[in-house]
Amino acid sequence: MENVLGSLDMTFWKLLAAGLAIGLGAIGPGIGVGLAGLGGTQAIGRNPDASGTILTNMILAIAFAEAIAIYALVIALILLFVV
């Protein structure tokens, strides 16, 4: 096992770091987007007439949650292509 680890170069760590960055960074936004979708669909189910407003607000909330995943993606891309 030590031999394997010793023979690994920077590329390995870069790839690992990029994978971890986006993988771990996507957990929170995933839960957040799911919650926003849950709230939105429940609200539409209870009050279908207001679906237009609810949809807009839901998309807005999803976009804010998704922005965190985008920051993780930026970090991962920087690790892969720039560092």
Partner: protein, 325 residues
């Protein structure tokens, strides 16, 4: 009879999947360690070549990014569609009253989208709809043309610079084809979807955020910028005024992050879709990519929709009067 047909289709699908698994030569050479097996496997599967910045085509002394060609094709489709769709209306012919063909499609898109925008923006939607609908249809078409065959697979074969990763070339009749073996050549595709090049989403994001400020100033006058640099609260608000001032500065910061998240949301989704399609096509060449193509059709639509709706929502927030302070 219909049931027999369904069963036949399913059997055919399963058979093709198995066939493609046999075709993609996954051969582990005995128990010589897991790493060796993985290396062997990766070596025999055609690995997709993934490059983040757009490739450049050299036409004489000019360097043209291939994403520019993709953008121009999207523009061309939109212009032709718009010209064909409004032909009778512009000519003032009576046929325009009963829309047919392309005109029907154009009116359907326009009415559907502007109905959505009216929900968000109210009567202001009338003035802002052209920009927002342009965002929607441009991003939609630019995303969807990526799915046509020939995109990112047909191009010029060039020699790679010394030390870079390259592939071997085999002649195939009058044309040449890249293989999975190591060599000295790489493919520069003619066409690439606009949004897989970060410059295009970034430009769209800049236009979106800039126009949000323009509309806000048009609605509220220059007092709109009090939102970001809140001198009035600092003067009259006391301790809470300082708080309001800092909140205003943070709001100014969020305008900058908006550009980043707009640009990277669109770029990330479409670029990841391109990578996904390339990887899946190299792993299971039959049938499996079809599912992911459908997924990409969906993602392309959702991203176009989200870009338009977010811009509309931000405009709605920015132009809403905050009452007399």
């Amino acid at each position: 009879m219909r049931k027999v047909g369904t069963v036949l289709v399913i059997l055919l699908a399963i058979g093709l999947c198995l066939f493609s698994c046999v075709l993609s030569p996954v051969t582990s050479k005995g128990a010589t360690g897991a790493i060796k097996a993985i290396k062997d496997t990766m070596g025999s599967v055609v690995q997709p070549h993934i490059q983040m910045p757009a490739e450049f085509l050299h036409i004489g002394p000019v360097r043209i990014p291939n994403s520019l060609l993709g953008t121009l094709i999207a523009d061309l489709i939109l212009i032709v569609g718009a010209v064909a769709g409004t032909r009778y209306i512009r000519a003032g012919r009576p046929e325009a009253w009963v829309p047919r063909g392309v005109q029907n499609v154009v009116e359907w898109i326009f009415e559907g989208v502007s109905g959505l925008l009216r929900d968000v923006l109210g009567e202001r939607a009338e003035r802002m709809a052209p920009l927002l609908i342009t965002f929607f249809i441009f991003i939609l078409v630019a995303n969807w043309i990526e799915l046509f065959p020939g995109f990112e697979s047909i191009g010029i074969i060039e020699e790679v610079p010394e030390g870079a990763h390259g592939l071997k070339v085999v002649p195939l009749g009058p044309i040449q084809m890249l293989t999975s073996e190591e060599g000295h050549y790489t493919l520069v595709p003619f066409l690439r979807a606009a949004n897989t090049d970060l410059n295009v989403p970034l430009a769209l994001a800049l236009v979106s955020v800039f126009m949000t400020q323009v509309y806000a100033v048009q609605e509220q006058g220059w007092g709109y910028f009090n939102r970001f640099i809140n001198i009035r609260a600092l003067k009259h608000g006391g301790a809470m005024g300082i708080m309001d001032f800092v909140v205003g500065l943070l709001e100014g910061m969020s305008e900058v992050t908006k550009i980043i998240s707009f640009a990277f949301r669109l770029f990330g989704n479409i670029f990841a879709g391109m990578v996904l399609l390339a990887v899946i096509s190299s792993l299971v060449p039959f049938l499996a990519p079809v599912i992911f193509y459908l997924l990409e059709v969906f993602v392309g639509f959702i991203q176009a929709f989200v870009f338009m709706m977010l811009t509309a929502a931000f405009i709605a927030v920015a132009t809403a009067d905050h009452g007399a302070h």
